[in-house]
């Protein structure tokens, strides 16, 4: 009965949505069925796809930068205990500041357009990925490190046999968190500083009070984010279980 609980959840969510719709009416909401229909019309619209591509392109670049830079910051900080202890509270403080406030700075540096969106997505994702990577490296079993020294493993051997297998599960968790934050960052960047992309469409629909459009876009974004997250979560749990 693996599918029973998720099915109940889905049913509860749709039911809540429908009841909410019946309560507030057409001024504020559309029914789940109407929204699915609106989304379908949107998806076959030829003018819509360039926006999806634009957002995906910005997001993929921002996310890739976040992963690479996050690992480049986190792994050395995990290896060097002193540097890690110095940097950790700074990273946590950076994680907790509302990064939206920095969007004017990003726009002043990069100008309106693709680079600003990519940068905005990247700065949202970098910090969590580096925090998780740092803790992953820091928590490598010391016995494994001593064994590596006794066996005289080469640098590449150490990376392949010890570093990657020991840190991968935590790093995947970090990447999962970074994924959602980079997506939020990209969308926020599009809402404020762009003439294209899903974030821009959402902002436009908001100012036109186009509820059908707002709900269809929200459904698309939520479905995408939840779908990818479910995949990453399955990978994450699989890796954590496989850990000795």
């Amino acid at each position: 009965m693996r599918w029973r609980d998720p099915a109940i959840l889905l049913f509860v969510i749709l039911l809540t949505w429908e009841v909410l719709y019946l309560l507030v009416g057409d001024v504020a909401l559309r029914s789940p069925l109407a929204t699915a229909e609106n989304l379908r019309t949107l998806l076959v619209d030829a003018r819509f796809m360039p926006h999806v591509r634009e957002t995906l392109l910005a997001f993929v670049q921002g996310f890739a930068i976040a992963v690479v830079v996050g690992l480049l910051i986190g792994v050395p900080l995990g290896a060097a205990r002193f540097a890690g202890e110095v940097a950790e509270p700074i990273l946590v403080a950076l994680y907790s500041i509302p990064k939206v406030t920095l969007y004017p700075v990003i726009l002043l540096i990069f100008g309106i357009g693709m680079p600003a969106k990519v940068a905005f997505g990247a700065i949202h994702g970098i910090v969590p990925i580096s925090i998780f990577a740092m803790n992953a490296v820091r928590n490598i079993n010391p016995t494994h490190l001593r064994t590596a020294r006794v066996m005289r493993l080469s640098t590449s051997g150490f990376a392949l046999k010890i570093l990657i297998p020991a840190t991968l599960p935590e790093i995947v968790t970090g990447i999962r968190v970074g994924f959602s934050l980079a997506l939020i960052g990209t969308l926020l960047g599009e809402m404020f500083g762009s003439q294209r992309g899903l974030g821009h469409l959402l902002m436009q629909a908001m100012s036109l009070h186009n509820i059908e459009r707002i709900l269809a876009l929200t459904l698309l974004l939520v479905a995408f984010a939840a779908g990818v997250n479910a995949l990453l979560l399955a990978l994450d749990r699989h890796l954590h279980r496989a850990l000795p």
């Binding site: 500041i97 509302p98 406030t101 700075v105 540096i109 939020i184 969308l187 809402m191 939520v222």
Partner: protein
């Protein structure tokens, strides 16, 4: 060199470097103004009282969101912990909650709650409440069975047992949730103010940006960063004191 002095050197060094780069014109002033100018401008703004109403509005909204998330989060967490079937059904929702771009619901909240402060408070609350729920559940899961047996021996009711035994034991975990709730409330409320609002710190920053008023913009950004970091550091210090007392006991 100790860890904390190295940290202070690092932060001061970064600020000094930024100051130098701006003063030498390597970073042009219409992109970033020197940190000393930001501080000067912030001081003038605070002294003039020009934005006092905006600051008060933002902090009030953040405060309401935090308190509501704390109360609702602990209550829902406690309820769910004693209702495993519901928790199992909701588990996928918990796991995907923070993956969903919450701001996508903002237009919807505006339509439901109107154009006042409520949609902003709601975004802050929605972001914050899940952190409290998850950490409350995590703490309650760790209560040793012997304490629960003690509660049964003393014939405590559900509410009394929850407050005196379960939540008391789970307090440090719940505190972690509160800390996150504070950060998320700021993120939610200020982000929402950027999107649409007619007052508040986020609104003033985006207004200053649209008018190329870098003095005001950087002053208010600095203000937000200082407030959030100060609140976080104080909570961190308080948490450390609580944990130290618990270890002694």
């Amino acid at each position: 060199m100790t860890v904390s002095s190295a940290r202070i050197f690092l932060i001061l060094g970064a600020i000094l470097l930024l100051e130098l780069l701006c003063r030498l014109g390597i970073i042009p002033n219409f992109t970033v103004i020197p940190p000393s100018a930001m501080a000067q401008s912030l001081w003038n703004i605070l002294a003039s009282g020009k934005f006092t109403a905006d600051i008060a509005a933002t902090l009030t909204n953040v405060g309401i969101a935090i308190v509501a998330a704390m109360i609702a989060g602990v209550a829902l967490g406690t309820l769910l912990q004693s209702w495993p079937a519901a928790r199992r059904v909701l588990d996928p929702l918990f796991a995907t909650y923070y993956a969903v771009p919450m701001y996508a619901f903002y237009p919807l909240l505006i339509v439901i709650f109107g154009l006042g402060d409520l949609p902003q408070v709601a975004i802050g609350f929605l972001l914050a409440v899940m952190a409290v729920i998850l950490n409350t559940l995590n703490g309650l899961d760790r209560v040793p069975p012997v304490l629960l047996k003690t509660a049964r021996v003393h014939r405590l009711g559900f509410i009394k047992e929850a407050i005196q035994i379960r939540l008391a034991y789970a307090a440090p975990y719940v505190f972690t949730g509160f800390k996150l709730a504070v950060a998320y409330s700021f993120i939610g409320v200020i982000g929402a103010e950027f999107i649409t609002s007619s007052r508040g710190i986020g609104y003033e920053i985006s207004f200053a940006y649209n008018n190329f008023d870098n003095g005001v913009m950087y002053a208010m950004i600095l203000f937000i960063l200082l407030v959030v970091i100060t609140v976080n550091m104080s909570l961190h210090a308080w948490e450390k004191r609580l944990l130290a007392r618990r270890r002694r006991a």
